[in-house]
Symmetry: C2
């Protein structure tokens, strides 16, 4: 066993990496990610919520503010959507100078069946005032980030919040939400990166000017320096990931494959439009071949893909990349940005093919 | 947002930390850890098992080798045990020179209700030969570790394997085992560190000489160098952990608490004997006071504890420590060992108490 000479890993990043977790990539084989394998990022602490006394306040620039209990929400029309969620920080630790935050490689993704009630009818029943421009979603999770103490809060433009597919979800994969996924209620905004899907909701507030909370105004921007405002992170850029073939070395995670026919499989998704094409490379990205793409497992979820690879003895770097119908593609290496967000650079897997 | 200048964290450790995950310590509040919050360590890949064709082979030095299907195992007498599991590597990353492996801080623990059928009657029905000295448990997970390709395998001395509480478990918290916890069948050996509880079982084999597989003979020893054989890791040493009070800073995880009465709460456990005493320190371990200890939540599970702290404005290092009835206690800082196992040094939490 090798040992590291000193505290090379920063304790701060390690504390986050030990709490949060990605999808072990072999779990890409499941159409719907089993509970406990879906990626999970918790900014502060998982709040302890008593569902019996919990209430959702819907207010602000509305004609009829309303307070809803969990039972009242469950009595409303229910809808189940299969949705692929990805953390905006996925790929952060692969950037050369990494932002000190959750150090994701490429595994911060998952697909779940979310059951809840659509948001739009609730806002319509409350009667949005004409001057309402955004809807603010407030969680119960409190902490300090960027030296600002705040509850986790994010907003959506009114038109985005009123989309049919935006849900207030109280169940995942047919089970009540577990604490870590936002019990008793969370927002689901299909197509958007994970920071949008506010967990542990306590309030939904219509506002007449753009929300300036820290998680909205400072965090989650593509920018080159702390001083720059940058471009807000919104929908998920396309990405393809491969189930690492063969079996691994424990520490290096190098893969070992026996020579012969080898079916490479994985998933691909985009929050902008349908994935149109997935390509595979076995020579470190010098040449690419089309994979066979299956239909998505749900309107807002990833597609499966496969590729018949003839594995001959040697060492390889396998990669895959996705292109969506809106013309978004994956770069070989993503451009650096200060917060380490939206890095959809291609996956690289080191594979040793052995003589059979 | 701060940025790190270079790849300070080793990619190898990060790959493991992103796949595996600990118990977020606020989840210590649950008597039984909700699914998805229990710690998880997977050496190689999570195998993909078809439960309809899966079978368990019971053989080796037995009179009547037998093959059992999952249905046959479920038809046998069922028993549910509440068991606290901890990874032997818990605390590894807090050691000065850390072994390159899963870099746990102190969160690799969880308590679950495991349902299965006792192992002893299966071995008795098979008829252990007189020369059987150990029982070997073989998983379906294959990989390379220590430069040796192997299936994950561990053994127990016959007397240990025949203990009443050793289970072949097919359910957790009342649900079928999910893939990551060893579906369709895993071993549960209450009191022992996690490496013993072999997941994805495919074979149970009685042998007439001590098993020398890599995970048994090389890994999981307390030793000072690679050359030394060392002392095998067996039962869980006592540990107390505290739910970090107040709310956190996102990156540093420093805690902020309002001045006034503050109930400190947590869990304590030992695999050797009942926990007899939990103590709390608010001055970095200079002085200690007894916490109130509750009965364990199950015969093989952790106990809750609480302590009424008068939080006055200032900065504190909170700690807690457990002592068990067999006389094992927690050191302030654990002695270093080469593999970074069995580190039950006390937890330290930095807390800022603010004026109310």
């Amino acid at each position: 066993m090798k040992t590291a000479a000193g505290p090379a890993i920063t304790l701060e990043e390690l504390q986050l990496a030990a709490r949060n977790h990605g999808l072990p990539l072999e779990a890409l084989r499941h159409d719907v990610t089993p509970l406990g394998l879906h990626y999970l990022l918790t900014h502060f602490d998982i709040p302890h919520v008593d569902e019996r006394t919990w209430k959702l306040e819907v207010g602000g620039r509305v004609d009829h503010p309303v307070t809803l209990t969990l039972d009242q929400l469950k009595e409303r029309p229910a809808r189940t959507l299969t949705v692929t969620l990805e953390c905006a920080g996925n790929g952060r630790a692969l950037l050369a100078r990494r932002a000190l935050s959750q150090p994701w490689l490429q595994e911060a993704v998952g697909t779940a069946e979310w059951t809840g009630t659509p948001l739009a009818p609730i806002l319509n029943d409350a009667g949005l005032a004409e001057d309402a421009v955004e809807i603010v979603f407030t969680g119960l999770d409190r902490g300090i980030q960027g030296e600002v103490e705040h509850l986790y809060e994010r907003s959506l433009a009114v038109a985005e919040a009123l989309r049919d597919e935006v849900l207030l979800a109280y169940a995942i994969n047919g089970q009540p939400l577990p604490p870590q996924h936002g019990a008793p209620l969370r927002l689901i905004v299909p197509g958007w990166y994970g920071m949008t899907h506010v967990k542990w909701l306590q309030a939904i507030t219509a506002v007449d000017e753009p929300f300036r909370g820290w998680q909205q105004d400072v965090a989650y921007h593509v920018r080159e320096s702390e001083e720059e405002q940058g471009r807000p992170v919104t929908r998920i850029l396309p990405r393809a990931l491969m189930i690492p073939p063969g079996f691994p070395d424990f520490l290096a995670r190098t893969r070992f494959v026996e020579a012969g026919p080898c079916t490479l499989e994985g998933r691909a998704w985009s929050g902008w439009a349908a994935v149109e094409r997935v390509e595979v490379s076995s020579d470190g990205g010098q040449s690419w071949a089309d994979a066979e793409l299956r239909p998505p497992v749900g309107e807002f979820a990833w597609s499966g893909w496969s590729y018949a690879w003839k594995a001959e003895p040697g060492e390889y770097e396998l990669s895959c990349r996705a292109t969506d119908a809106a013309g978004h593609a994956q770069p070989s290496v993503a451009e650096w940005n200060y917060d380490g967000v939206c890095n959809n650079g291609v996956q690289r897997i080191r594979v040793v093919v052995r003589e059979t």
